[in-house]
């Protein structure tokens, strides 16, 4: 009873809250980092150095009037943000924050497959949200989103397959363990795959320079143009939760998850005093920083260029990477 229900439930509650709090602070982090990149200060008024802005933002969004356009499909309009957020949170069920079962909810043997399939559901939220708004800009944006997410999903998945080929397991814990045994992060084994997954991840989370579905300067607000208040904030949460998910995947697959750098080098063994979950979260934050950094730097792709990049560059390279990995796997 305790082992099967209470502990997992407690973990779920803790994890869920941790993720949501992390998301609110991620928004603050994004605002701060972009502000620094742009020689501004960012939020400074709420709390010391604007730290409480992370609290003020959600409160404002929750208190705002929640408007449903008259001609919108009401049920789908409400359902869409939920469909967008829930998969992003469910994924954390299989994300291992450390080596022991204490650090994760479950280690299922198809963990990677689970992540890929569940994150794919998130796109329905965007498509339905754009469609249900019964408005032209969101419709265009949701069309863009569906095309974009599907084409980048293919590239990312195919690239992940090459990682699976190297490890021979779909379990996320297994993948990290494989890196520990190999003594080398997969970033060094599969650098091409790392780039592909990271670029694809940017595109899948609708982050700059691939933020076409919500390109505010083209489509006003993209798929969430008609959303306001709490429902808008759900989309918002989903986007940032997805950022964390992608960062987590990249860290687990290529940067050794909770492992310290170069786990087999004895000279660096003193790094072991840092708890594994700190390593994991630290690495995630590093990637979140890169996400934000890219957003502050790069212009946005155009829709056709984005599709061309996906289909003409990423997918062929992913296939090539898969083939080379397969050949090496057999040959070595």
């Amino acid at each position: 009873m305790l082992e099967t229900i209470v502990v997992p439930l407690a973990k779920i509650v803790v994890l869920l809250n941790a993720v949501l709090v992390a998301v609110t602070f991620l928004v603050l982090m994004e605002r701060k980092v972009i502000a620094w990149a742009q020689s501004r200060l960012g939020p400074m008024r709420v709390g010391p150095y604007g730290i409480l802005q992370a609290i003020a933002d959600p409160i404002k969004l929750i208190l705002k009037e929640d408007i449903t356009p008259r001609k919108a499909d009401k049920y789908v309009f409400t359902l869409a943000p939920i469909m967008s957020l829930v998969p992003a949170l469910v994924v954390f069920a299989v994300v291992p924050f450390g080596p022991d079962p204490f650090y994760y909810l479950s280690d299922i043997n198809v963990g990677l497959l689970f992540i890929i399939s569940v994150t794919s559901i998130g796109v329905y939220g965007i498509i339905l949200g754009g469609w249900a708004s019964n408005s032209k800009y969101p419709l265009l944006a949701s069309l863009r989103a569906s095309a974009q997410l599907i084409s980048y999903e293919i590239a990312v998945t195919m690239t992940l397959v090459s990682v699976i080929l190297t490890t021979g397991t779909l379990s996320l814990v297994g993948i990290v363990e494989a890196q520990r045994e190999g003594g080398l992060w997969f970033a060094f084994v599969q650098p091409v795959a790392l780039m592909l997954v990271f670029i694809g991840g940017l595109a899948e989370t609708n982050r700059a320079p691939f933020d076409l579905p919500e390109a505010e300067t083209e489509l006003t607000g993209g798929f969430h143009t008609e959303y306001s208040g709490m429902r808008f904030s759900l989309f918002f949460l989903a986007e940032y939760a997805n950022m964390i998910v992608i960062s987590a995947i990249v860290v687990i697959m290529f940067f050794g998850g909770w492992l310290q750098p170069f786990p087999n080098v004895p000279a660096l063994a003193f790094l072991g005093f840092v708890p594994p979950w700190i390593w994991f979260i630290g690495k995630i934050f590093l990637f979140l920083y890169v996400f934000i950094w890219i957003r502050a730097t790069l212009p946005r792709y155009r829709y056709d260029q984005l599709m061309a990049l996906g289909w003409k560059v990423l997918i062929p390279v992913a296939i090539g990477n898969l083939v080379v990995t397969g050949i090496l796997k057999v040959a070595l």
Binding site: I67, T68, P69, R70, K71
Partner: protein, 257 residues
Amino acid sequence: MADETKSQSGQDGADSRPRAAGAGSKVAEKPAAAGKPAAEAAARKPAPKPRPKPKPKAPPEPPKAPEDQAPPDGMELPKMVTAVQAGAPGAVQQVSYWVGDWTVIVAVDRLLDVMRFLRDDDSTSFDYCSDVTAADWPPREKRFDVVYCLYSTRLRHRLRVKVRVGEQDPVESVTQLWPAADWLEREVYDQFGIDIVNHPDLRRILMPEQWQGYPQRKDYPLEGPGELLMENPQDWLRVRNLPDEAGAGADADVEIE
């Protein structure tokens, strides 16, 4: 000429018709002298430089006619002007020069000929239509001056072409020569109500589609329905909905629950 104009308008007083007729006769006699307007003009009028003090008149009434100063004595006409006089014979009614700008005044029915010549001839080659605008001189029978400011990016010279039209007279659109004139002519139509014919898309441009009246005309009040909107929206709505009472309800579609 200026002396004449001043004294003449002073004599005419409130009666505007004779002055307008006088202007008309001047226009009529001009084409004959098209070849040597400088000498002609100089013979008729002194140079415009010394100006008399403006006579203080009790009600400042609108000017009777625009003054198009002839080129001063002995000034040679530039090549672009002589070229158009030769190229479109009889079309140029008057040549004017003032503070360095040359203007040709053209009969409205010959406008396109002149414009086509100005654009295509090598000695003029006005390939750039800077501006199309108009001025309103109400008491005059042909109350509008439509002014085309042309520029040549090759020869780097400017010329203004002016036609005089009445309220109902159609003006040929020059969009077929310069696509640039499209919006400019729309603005002339919008602001002055000058009938531009053969324009591809003659709609109002700055004012709303259902606007009544032509704001840049001199008889249009400076304070119009806009102020009515500010002070009394109900009246404004009534005025606005007069033409299509039925269609007014259609866009009252509340989007928000």
